[in-house]
């Protein structure tokens, strides 16, 4: 049976900070907006991020994750966004037709613009290939966060955390408050991957040891985890013989990276950048599929929800303008490419429309350093430069390139001097 598709101007997939902000911005711009979210409650991962530190950029005050989410939920509702919770987008076609399923129903929606805001998921044990048996007690940090903060389930008594990403650090403090003993945080890299303030307020406050340049080389236990083996790693990222030591624990949390959730995008023909695992986008956040936009953690992993929401706003405005005006003027304008040069891990967007007066570029550096100058070069000439007092891969950097007469080069490159 074929169902007739409903029509709308903008469909937003995902109701976390990026999707909510995109939906509100698109509706404010005059578009009819449908927001689809697979969870029963809007807000995405923010609902389980009950710690504070959100909102300083977006609202000028310190909020917890759920409070930050509630602001954007209100904003979206006030803007007149039509919300479909408990609804999963099972399919997205390059013609921007969505197949949606929800308990007891299935529907089709055709949108002039689609905003991808599905967020990301955590890397798991399987992706790390840690040897040893498969006892209970090994969780991703986000799962442990969900169980602790939302379900009132105690994950364990003596905990080791592998990876020093922010979620792992936040959970080290959280589980300490809950009465668990966090025996160690173990990080393969020679520097922490979380924000410096989280090292201070989550580890140092409680005397939790951080083993840099170390990783878990074996997991032990039959039914329940009873310990892990930790070894020092060399620059070749291999364990150094003779450095192994055991840490008894009943719980191992993995905070070893996030991966944009792009299955739906891929099936719609969206091209992905291997350095971000997110879409290639232009300065309007449009992917290679005309009318399909991407923002937030599905585009690239953000360290702050504030930035994800801001990016959502920009993508939402662009999606509305594409739906309301852009279809008449045709698809994509001519593009200049933006590439990551010396010392830069990735750039977003990876292209900018020629004639653009202003292009905002988000990027990450490749390694920690101090007092480096980041510059944006156009055909060898510096269009913008900024000194980074502290350059760190954990901290996204944004720079704006302004071209009064409109961008008229073929290639921009971001690099460290």
């Amino acid at each position: 049976m074929t169902l007739r598709a409903r029509e709308t101007d903008v469909a937003v997939i995902g109701g976390g900070p990026a999707g909510l902000a995109a939906a509100a911005a698109a509706a404010d711009a005059g578009a009819r907006v449908v927001l689809i979210d697979r969870n029963p409650h809007l807000g995405g991962i923010l609902n389980q991020c009950i710690h504070d530190g959100f909102g300083l950029h977006a609202f000028g005050e310190v909020l917890t994750g759920p409070e930050f989410a509630a602001r954007y939920v209100d904003r979206a509702r006030e803007a007149g966004v039509e919300v479909h919770s408990d609804t999963l987008v099972a399919e997205l076609t390059p013609e921007r037709e969505l197949v949606c399923t929800s308990p007891g129903s299935r529907s089709r929606l055709r949108a002039s613009s689609v905003v991808l805001a599905m967020g990301c998921r955590e890397r798991t044990r399987g992706m790390l290939r840690i040897p040893g048996p498969r006892p209970a007690g090994v969780y991703t940090a986000g799962t442990a966060q969900w169980l602790t903060n939302m379900e009132n389930i105690r994950v364990g008594r003596r905990v080791v955390i592998l990876g020093s990403g922010d979620i792992g650090l936040i959970m080290a403090r959280r589980l300490t408050w809950e009465g668990a003993e966090v025996a160690a945080v173990v990080e393969l890299l020679p520097y922490p991957s979380g924000l410096p303030r989280n090292i201070t307020q989550c580890l140092e406050d409680y005397g939790i040891p951080l083993h840099l340049g170390h990783s878990v080389t074996c997991i032990r236990g039959r039914d329940r985890l009873d310990g892990v083996t930790v070894s020092r790693f060399g620059e070749d990222r291999r364990p150094i013989p003779g450095t192994a030591f055991d840490i008894p624990c009943d719980t191992l949390l993995l905070s070893v990276g996030l991966i944009p959730e792009n299955e739906l995008s891929r099936r719609a023909g969206v091209q992905l950048d291997t350095s971000t695992s997110g879409a290639f986008v232009d300065d309007r956040y449009m992917t290679n599929v005309p009318g399909v936009f991407s923002c937030g953690n599905v585009l690239h992993i953000h360290d702050l929800a504030d930035w994800a929401a801001e990016e959502g706003e920009r993508a939402g405005r662009a999606a509305a303008s594409h739906a309301l005006e852009g279809l008449a003027t045709g698809g994509r304008s001519t593009l200049a490419t933006i590439t990551a040069g010396e010392g830069i891990r990735y750039v977003v967007p990876q292209a900018a429309s020629k004639g653009a007066k202003e292009v905002l570029i988000s990027f990450r550096v490749g390694a920690p350093d101090q007092d480096r100058t980041a510059e944006v070069l156009a055909d060898g000439r510096a269009l913008a430069s900024e000194t980074l007092r502290r350059a760190h891969p954990a901290e996204m950097v944004q720079m704006t390139v302004r071209c009064a007469d409109g961008l008229n080069v073929d290639r921009l490159e971001v690099r460290l001097q």
């Binding site: 917890t64 759920p66 408990d86 379900e151 009132n152 809950e178 303030r197």
Partner: protein, 133 residues
């Protein structure tokens, strides 16, 4: 002269502060460098004299659409009161519905600070309020 390095925790920038003082640390004797906004000075002085943190945790909700509601101390409390405050909140159960900002405990752990809800939890109507999957 006592010198110390601190990481400011007030915003994601996490400025690295160089703090020094001769004699006892007091607001008059403490010298702060490395801050990029005035709040860095306040943070360093507080950190050396009476460090404070905000407690964020969850409490039990009865009759709600979810088993727990997240809460926070309305402002930072002395660091040494964190565990006592968490302990007191373990015994708090509120009836749904609860709204953001609702006070669920006052003078937590003797600090004079309120604890407020950070996520609204609705009342569970009955078990069929959500369609079966």
């Amino acid at each position: 002269m006592t010198r110390k390095k601190l990481t400011c925790i007030l915003c994601p920038n996490g400025c690295e502060l160089e703090v020094s003082h001769s004699g006892e640390p007091t607001p008059e004797t403490i010298v702060v460098e490395g801050h990029t906004c005035p709040r860095g000075i306040d943070y360093a002085i507080e950190e050396l004299t009476a460090p404070k943190r905000t407690l964020t945790t969850s409490i039990l909700v009865s009759g709600g659409t979810q088993p727990q509601a997240s809460v926070k101390t309305a402002c930072p409390i002395p660091r040494e009161a964190l565990f006592a405050a968490r302990g007191e909140l373990r015994r708090v159960v509120v009836d749904a519905p609860v709204a953001i900002g609702e006070v669920v405990a006052t003078d937590i752990a003797g600090t004079g600070v309120d604890v407020v809800v950070t996520r609204a939890v609705g009342r569970r109507l009955n078990d069929t309020s959500r369609p079966e999957r």
